[in-house]
Amino acid sequence: MAKTLFDKVWDSHVVHNVEDGPQVVYIDRHYIHEVTSPQAFNGLRSRGIPVFRPKQTIATADHNVPTKDQHLPIKDALSKHQVDTLIKNCDEFGVELYGLGHPFQGIVHVIGPELGITQPGMTMVCGDSHTSTHGAFGAIAFGIGTSEVEQVLATQCILQNKPKSMKIEINGQLKPGVLSKDIILYIISKISTSGGTGHFVEFCGDTIEALSMEARMTICNMSIEMGARGGMIAPDETTYAYIKGREFAPKGEEYDKMVEKWKGLKTDEGAQFDLAYSFDAADIDPMITYGTNPGMGIGINDNVPNPNGNATDNFKKSLDYMGLEAGQKLIGKKVDYVFIGSCTNSRIEDLRLVADLVKGRKKADHIEAWIVPGSKQVEQQAIAEGLDVILKEAGFELREPGCSACLAMNEDKVPAGAYCVSTSNRNFEGRQGPGARTMLASPLSAAATAINGYISDARELMN
């Protein structure tokens, strides 16, 4: 029977079928961090059992680490306690930890791919919804809760009902200045934040095939924002080339053998999806959100929708929180903060795009511009390429790696009422700090906004 890419990876990882119930699915790689793991380790402790396969578990500290002076002790007592608890748990249970000070430390979804741990055909989970990022490699990767983290630590397996399948095909040439972040914000604006619920999505089409690995990761990263359990992209030459030579990637003959295997990871001709959408790349403009969920996005030159008296309470509540009016233009609107970072857009390509645009320019005086690399390795590479100098001259603050102002568990918060154009993945109320007003956009849009001091179309600064 013709199978989808998702079917192939899923079916090959089923250990046991529970009658009238879920399946026991084997997990190849388990990423953990300080926020969603402590209660799971406590669970193991109270049962008196070890981590079942500690070598398949990889830990890092990212959610509430500071982005300044990481060599000093963490000032916030609760954050410090949580990071110290992770250190203690990893030590006690024999799990490798890339904690603060380690050259591999960084956001869990940035370090997995860059270290070559994330590979095609794997099943991967983490107590973080943006685990969907790793699907860019043709892996099944999804976010889980802490009880499930405990399941995986205890047995390397998880109980899951097989999700439905969805295909999202995008074909055609992107306009200049349109990035993969714009593609995913566009798709979510079309199908809504619940449009993918219950489904696992395969992104395909020639637009997707033409994207770099890092751009593909941005798309899969935000598949959770349309409610999908995860998104995935069939591996191809771009994928194999990205993996080759990375720290934990297969080497030599082993690599060749794996590539042969990975070549089978694609949807068979005639395979059926439960739901399918297709979009034309040429319809996509740089996007920005105006509301309080990622589905509330528009082209950067468009007006906030105006339901003319038919506005729902949710829509009104959202605009009220954002301090915006139905029908108003966003372009030219003064903002206070620009945040470039998070597991969505903190990779070296993102930093290069920003550096290219801001080179020889200065940010607007009133703007606070933070650029937070996704990992120690990204930070080092930015320095090696001289991007740090360009960014500094433009008035950007290049900080140390972590989740930072994406969810503001550390000190990087946007004040109440302030506007922030952010490359992160969520614009929920209070996400960047209580009362903060977040507008999601691509790194190019964020960089252009920092330069002008108001929401800007980067294409006007390009060339």
Partner: protein, 197 residues
């Protein structure tokens, strides 16, 4: 995990759609390393104002309402996978959430913690909101054995879905880990096989 068989209770109506887990429990309150105590910060930024004073307009602060059932608008629990959201709801004494649509991860997290997510039709959801608007003491009854939810004292009732496995776990107070550990030999045998895609 506590057993769940049935509950009849008045409800807290929260007719807001797309309630994300950042609203249920904001990230800054996720720094604890145990599962308890999150209830104090449930819906923190809606429940309290900037000066940490209770917001009288928020449903949980309104003395008219009480009970162990929360009724919310569609797409409840979207966003972050934080299980703390389910813990916070449970910790504050609630045992059932009723909505017309749930985000997947939240639903799984709730079921793993003895909190029952009851998914009803949009029409039935609106009926509950109307009934509670008319009478804040209106009771709703949820029976897991028959998989039925009804508005007490009326003919309005609807059946809801739950997998046989999860129903078995909830009604018996079992959790997934006990089950998975019982499969350890099968898991080890799986690990010796070569992966075929």
């Amino acid at each position: 995990m506590e057993k769940f068989i049935n509950i009849t209770s008045s409800v807290y109506p929260l007719p807001v759609e797309d309630i994300d887990t950042d609203q249920i429990i904001p990230a800054r309150f996720l720094k604890a390393t145990d599962r308890k105590g999150f209830g104090d910060n449930l819906f923190r930024d809606w429940r309290y104002d900037k000066n940490d004073q209770p917001n009288p307009d928020f449903v949980l602060n309104n003395p008219k309402y009480s009970g162990t059932i929360l009724v919310a608008g569609k797409n409840f629990g979207c966003g972050s996978s934080r299980e703390h959201a389910a813990w916070a709801i449970y910790d504050s004494g609630l045992r059932v959430v009723v909505s017309s649509f749930y985000a997947d991860i939240f639903k799984g997290n709730a079921l793993n913690n003895g909190l029952l997510p009851v998914q009803v039709s949009e029409g039935f959801l609106q009926k509950i909101f109307k009934a509670v608007e008319a009478d804040p003491k209106q009771e709703v009854s949820v029976d897991l054995v028959t998989q039925t939810i009804s508005i007490v004292g009326t003919d309005d009732a609807e059946s809801f879905e739950i997998t046989a496995y999860k129903k078995h776990c909830m009604t018996n107070g079992f959790d997934d880990i006990d089950f998975l550990i019982s499969k350890a030999d099968e898991i080890a045998a799986y690990e010796t096989k070569e992966l075929v895609f």
